[in-house]
Structure formats: structure tokens, C-alpha cells
């Protein structure tokens, strides 16, 4: 059995660590690229959102490397993602791929089923070892998140262009190389030292923007055309409303790990504007916008894949949040387009808007 799972940003680092610790053979698909998207677009239904197309492309590319079993998360709507594993499997079968499918449904509804599925992947491993493996993956996710946060801090303040991105690659490599839980703290230490060594100008004035929206487009740089790096080089410190470890903790551990920013808080913030679960991260998008406004951020950018229903609901609420709390918000919809000029123009104009606004505010204060 050679297991493959779709890409979503740096998630592959954590899952690979977990599965290999449990002696499962893993095939990591090549990073999502235009070729991946092309394959997906060709075979996926036109009206599906971009994540489905990229997943499909990932699986097709992984098949060439010998993968034979798909592991994917499920879900129970209203976001269509919950059904994607099955749709993708059916499309692949029609195309003649011989894939086994293992769908991990959320534990709230199907705890027994989830445990069965885990056993199916991990075979005769003891539960104790399985738990250690999951914990190992989770700690890697925390490490990766920490490094990404450090990069987001350094990028707008770096004194040599590109220094942060180079350091981040080295630092991530330290985390990737660790094969056993015992080695992780020391590796993280080394990685943090690499990031700390980036020469930065801590007095440089920067703008702060919160990124909110749909999880896949937030986490996958190929899908959002590297928005964090682009904003960073424009002198913006970026914070994401969703980090991998937080999401894993909320959804897979049911909040068992303590001391993380919880989505419960964010949902409370949304209450004034939206009282319903609308699927996906629609509710979190509204709540996080309120959160960023309260934290004194200069602006918010919402990201969503074209046709994403939960985020469309949130999008229609954001103008009111923005007007009432005085935080500029811009929505960017991503799809197949690979031309960057349109995105860069909008980002530049938005950053200019925030910078001028801040200048005037400071002049008045």
C-alpha cells in the first residue's frame, strides 16, 4: 500500500511524518503547479471549485509515482468538500486509475468509523503507537506554523530582499528531516535560530493585514498566488485567520490541545452579524474580521475560490462589518487564472489605501 493525500500548503510535512512513523509508505505528490491544475481542469466538472481540481491533479501526478491508496478528510456540508473524496475517486475510476479510497470522517459524528479507517491504514500497529504518531504529526504542524509566523513577521522588515524566504526554506528542511518525535525539539530549536538570524529592521513602519477566508486558498500558496510573500515584499505583516495546527486541534482533536487560539472565540465575535453555521469557514471569516478590527489591524483581505458558497455568504456580510468597525476589507476570488498583473494591481492599490489612511490617522492623532 502506497498512500497519497492531496496538498494543502505545508500540510504534507505533518502527515508524512505521522504516517512514516507508523511505517506506512507515503507518496508525496509533486507540489501543485500549473500542470496539476491543467490535469484537474481537464477532468473535473467545470462548476466545481479550484480545490477539487487541484486535488484531482495531485492524485493523477501521484499515480505516476506509484501511489495506490488515497487518504482524504470528509465532512458533512454545507461546504461541498465533504463529498469531494468520493467525487474525485469516481472521476479517477472513470479515467482508469486503480485507487483505493479511505475517507476520514469528522470524529463528532463517526468516531467508531474513524478508528476503523485509521486501523485500515496503519495495520497492526498498537493504538499507543498510533496516538504517538498523530501527536508527532501535530507537533510538526505546530513547528511549521511557528516558522511561518516568524517569516510573516520578518518579510516586511528584512534588510536584504529574499532573505526571509531563503531562511524559511532552510528552517523547514530541519523540521522535514526529523524522523522521530525525540528529535523534534532540537530541530525546532535549530530552525528558530535560522529564522532569528534574518537581519531585520525592527523600527521599520509596517502595515498589518489579516487574511481571512476559505482554508484551502489560505493555506495553499499555489492557489492564492503566493499572496503572503507578495504582501510581505510590499511591507505588510500578514496574519492568517487559520493555521494548520489550530485547525487540526479544532476539528480532529475536538479542542483537546490547550492554549491555541480557538474558533469558539471567533464565532462569538461573529454573533452580531451572523448567528448560523453556513458551512466551511464562512462564520470564522466574519468573526475573524471582527477580531482583526478589534486588534487594530489596518485591513482585511478575504480569499475564496470561485463558487465557494460559505464564503459568498460571508462576503455579503463583510461590507457591514467593515463600515461599522472602520476596517477596510477587500475580497479576492481565485480560480484558474495565472496572470498575476490583476492581483498585484489590486494588492498594491489596497496597500496604498491602507498606508495613506494610516498616515492621515497618525497626523490627526
Amino acid at each position: 500500500m502506497k498512500v497519497v493525500y492531496p496538498h494543502m500548503g505545508l500540510m504534507w510535512i505533518c502527515i508524512k511524518a505521522m504516517l512514516e512513523y507508523l511505517n506506512v509508505d507515503v507518496i508525496v505528490p509533486p507540489p501543485s503547479s500549473k500542470k496539476t491544475l491543467l490535469l484537474g481542469v481537464k477532468h473535473a466538472p467545470e462548476f466545481a471549485c479550484m480545490p477539487l481540481k487541484l486535488n484531482l491533479g495531485n492524485f493523477m501526478e501521484a499515480a505516476e509515482l506509484g501511489a495506490d491508496t488515497i487518504v482524504m478528510a470528509g465532512g458533512c456540508g454545507p461546504c461541498r468538500f465533504g463529498y469531494y473524496a468520493h467525487v474525485e475517486h469516481a472521476i479517477l475510476r472513470d479515467l482508469g486509475y486503480q485507487y483505493e479510497l479511505v475517507v476520514l470522517e469528522p470524529p463528532q459524528k463517526h468516531i467508531g468509523d474513524l478508528l476503523d479507517k485509521i486501523k485500515q491504514i496503519t495495520g497492526q500497529q498498537s493504538w499507543r503507537r498510533v496516538i504517538n504518531g498523530i501527536r508527532f504529526g501535530y507537533h510538526k504542524a505546530e513547528a511549521v506554523d511557528k516558522l511561518e509566523r516568524m517569516a510573516n513577521y520578518c518579510r516586511p522588515r528584512e534588510t536584504t530582499a529574499g532573505a526571509t524566504d531563503r531562511a524559511l526554506q532552510h528552517a523547514l528542511q530541519e523540521i522535514i528531516n526529523v524522523a522521530a518525535p525525540e528529535g523534534l525539539p532540537a530541530a525546532l530549536q535549530r530552525a528558530v535560530e535560522i529564522m532569528d538570524a534574518i537581519p531585520v529592521d525592527i523600527h521599520r513602519p509596517v502595515l498589518r493585514i489579516g487574511l481571512v477566508g476559505e482554508i484551502y486558498t489560505l493555506l495553499e500558496p499555489f492557489a492564492n498566488q503566493d499572496i503572503e510573500r507578495k504582501l510581505g515584499s510590499m511591507g505588510v505583516e500578514v496574519d492568517r485567520s487559520i493555521y494548520l495546527s489550530e485547525w487540526v486541534n479544532e476539528h480532529l482533536f475536538l479542542g483537546l490541545a490547550k492554549n491555541t487560539r480557538s474558533s469558539k472565540l471567533v464565532k462569538q465575535k461573529a454573533i452580531k452579524y451572523l448567528r448560523h453555521f453556513v458551512g466551511g469557514h464562512g462564520l470564522e471569516t466574519v468573526g475573524s474580521t471582527v477580531f482583526y478590527a478589534e486588534q487594530g489591524y489596518d485591513g482585511v483581505i478575504q480569499l475564496l475560490p470561485f463558487t465557494c458558497m460559505p464564503e459568498i455568504v460571508a462576503q455579503s456580510i463583510l461590507p457591514r462589518v467593515s463600515a461599522e468597525l472602520g476596517i477596510p476589507a477587500m475580497t479576492l476570488i481565485v480560480d484558474e487564472q495565472s496572470g498575476e498583473a490583476g492581483l498585484v494591481t489590486r494588492l498594491e492599490a489596497f496597500v496604498d489605501l491602507l498606508a495613506r489612511r494610516k498616515q492621515t490617522e497618525e497626523a490627526l492623532a
Binding site: P30, P31, S33, K34, K35, T36, A161, G162, D165, D226, M234, P319, P328, I333, A341, V344, T345, R346, E348, A349, D352, L353, R356, R357, T360
Partner: protein, 324 residues
């Protein structure tokens, strides 16, 4: 005598403006880009040089528009800025206190909302070009009317005909239908203007608060019929500045003045009009993204590159030409 040069390289037109130290326009040039941005920038520079007194010295250059990076590299610009910012800067200088800018160009249209002199919100048309200058051009050509006559004719209308404005294809078939029913041309043209304005306000202006004073600029602002249609739909006067067609370039010149406040210009002189620039490109084979990398060559030497996601090519150049 000193001056600032602003260059706006758009999809349809390439505009240049030279302002004096006080920001007044000394000379402006409007050229059709015709898909040849490098040539047009060079041609514009030649025209500009010929029109100016020999002792004038350019002490700042700014570029804007979708070809801003290209123009910036060629001229050695001090500032390369997106068109939303430059349009807003120009309008608020021409009309202090402006709160809404309606801008319709050849291929795109945008709305910019200003409050207290600062851009507070903006939107651009996304995919549909139904409400832009190219469509008006096309319809005028179909009716065999010079685009300059379009506006005055539309103003003669007594009963503007209702035309579907949501999509250029629907609008065209609707127009043909009405024309075959015997409606006269002025009424159809006025109807088309009203349809475009409706489409613009719904699609680009979507829910934004349009407060006075309103400035209407971009190439389409030349069309008096469009101005009248906006005034009718908004219920208050719409102001078209005298240099409505070069506002982006004007804003770029103004920003160049700001950018060269405490430093000398990077302007490479009008001589660049005679140098040999070539844009080339290749597909990078470093990874499956196969990025289409663009290279700008001057006399056989690469002076700028962009288009690569990872920075492998654009960062390899030691020169300053970093793309903002």
C-alpha cells in the same frame, strides 16, 4: 526650467504628461498602444522631446497602467504605481474634495471612493468588458458613426430606447432589434449610454455610496452622452476634468514629484527613445509550473526579468530593476 514626466501605458492607449514644478500640465500626448508598448513609449518620448523647450530638464519620472513595469524599466522611473492610486491622486488635485471617481477606459472600468482626500474603497470590473470604451467604439463603427460624433448625437435624443446592458452580446442584439423596428439613431445611442451606465453602477459600483463631488474620467469621459447618462442616473452633476484622458499619467507625474523630493531622478534621458529594446521570453524548465519568463533586453543585454513565481530569474539580476 524643470519638469516631471508621467507615463500611463494602458491596453488601448499610451499617455504621457509633462508637468511643471507646480504640477500644471505643460504638454500631454495620447497615443494608441496597438499592442506595442515599448515602441509607443519610445515614440511618445520623441514627441515629448520635440514639443518641449530644449532647456527643460526632467527631474522625475513616474509610470502607471498595466504596462507600468515595462515603461519603468525603459525610462528608469523613480516610481512605478498602480492605476488606481494615480487616478485618485490626479483627480483629488484637479478637484479638491472629490468623493467619487468614475473611470472608464478602453478595456477596464473602475470606481474609486475617496473620503477626506484618501482612497477608502475601490472596485474594478472583473471579467466583462461590456461597459468599456472598446464596446462603444465597436458599436459606433457598426452604425458608421465617428466616435467623436457619438456624444453629440446621443444628446439629441428625445426618448432614449431601453437596451439590455448586462452583456455586450445581449446589448448588441437588442440594439439591432430596436434599429430594425425603426427607432432613430440618437435615441438608440442615448439608450446604449444609459444601459452602460446601469451596468457600470450595478457591476462595478455595486452597493458603494456615490457622494458628490463626482469626477468622471478616462477615455470614455469624452462622450457627452455618457456624462449625461451618469447625471441622469445619479441625479446630480458629474464633473469631467479638462485632461480627463491623461489623468493616470498626470497622477504618475505628481507621484514622481513626491518620490524625488530628497533624491535625484533615475530618468535615463530622452535618448532611450533611440536605443534598441526588445522584449523576449522563454518558458522556464525548473519545475512543472513552466513559468513564462519575460526578458527585457537593451542592445542585447538583459535589463529586467519578470514572470517567474519563485524568483529564480528575476532575482538573478544584480541591477536595481526590481519589480514592485
Amino acid at each position: 526650467m524643470y519638469g516631471y514626466l508621467g507615463i500611463d501605458v494602458g491596453s488601448v492607449s499610451t499617455n504621457m504628461v509633462l508637468t511643471g514644478e507646480d504640477g500644471t500640465i505643460k504638454h500631454s500626448i495620447y497615443l494608441r498602444t496597438q499592442g506595442k508598448p515599448i515602441e509607443m513609449v519610445q515614440q511618445g518620448l520623441k514627441h515629448m522631446q520635440a514639443a518641449l523647450p530644449g532647456k527643460l530638464k526632467v527631474i522625475g519620472v513616474g509610470t502607471t497602467g498595466s504596462g507600468r513595469h515595462l515603461a519603468g524599466v525603459i525610462t528608469g522611473a523613480d516610481i512605478i504605481k498602480n492605476e488606481i492610486t494615480t487616478h485618485a491622486i490626479a483627480a483629488s488635485n484637479v478637484m479638491p474634495g472629490v468623493q467619487t471617481i468614475l473611470e472608464i477606459g478602453g478595456q477596464d472600468s473602475k470606481i474609486i471612493i475617496l473620503r477626506n482626500g484618501v482612497v477608502s474603497d475601490f472596485a474594478m470590473n472583473t471579467v466583462c468588458a461590456a461597459g468599456t470604451g472598446s464596446f462603444l467604439d465597436q458599436q459606433a463603427a457598426r452604425l458608421n458613426i465617428k466616435i467623436e460624433e457619438f456624444g453629440p448625437l446621443a444628446l439629441q435624443a428625445t426618448v432614449p430606447v431601453r437596451i439590455a446592458g448586462r452583456c455586450a452580446v445581449f446589448a448588441e442584439s437588442d440594439m439591432i432589434h430596436k434599429q430594425q423596428m425603426g427607432y432613430n439613431i440618437p435615441d438608440i445611442l442615448a439608450g446604449l449610454c444609459e444601459a452602460l451606465v446601469r451596468n457600470y453602477l450595478n457591476n462595478v459600483g455595486k452597493g458603494k455610496e456615490i457622494l458628490q463631488p463626482v469626477v468622471f474620467q478616462g477615455g470614455v469621459a469624452a462622450n457627452a452622452g455618457m456624462k449625461a447618462a451618469f447625471e441622469k442616473a445619479l441625479g446630480h452633476p458629474v464633473h469631467v476634468p479638462s485632461h480627463y484622458d491623461v489623468m493616470g499619467a498626470l497622477g504618475a507625474a505628481m507621484l514622481a514629484r513626491e518620490a524625488t523630493n530628497r533624491k535625484s531622478t533615475g530618468f535615463r534621458g530622452f535618448e532611450v527613445a533611440d536605443r534598441d529594446f526588445k522584449a523576449g521570453g522563454f518558458a522556464c524548465d525548473g519545475c512543472p509550473n513552466v513559468c513564462e519568463v519575460v526578458e527585457i533586453m537593451e542592445s542585447g543585454q538583459v535589463i529586467a526579468r519578470w514572470g517567474d513565481r519563485c524568483g529564480r530569474w528575476s532575482n538573478a539580476l544584480t541591477q536595481q530593476a526590481r519589480i514592485s
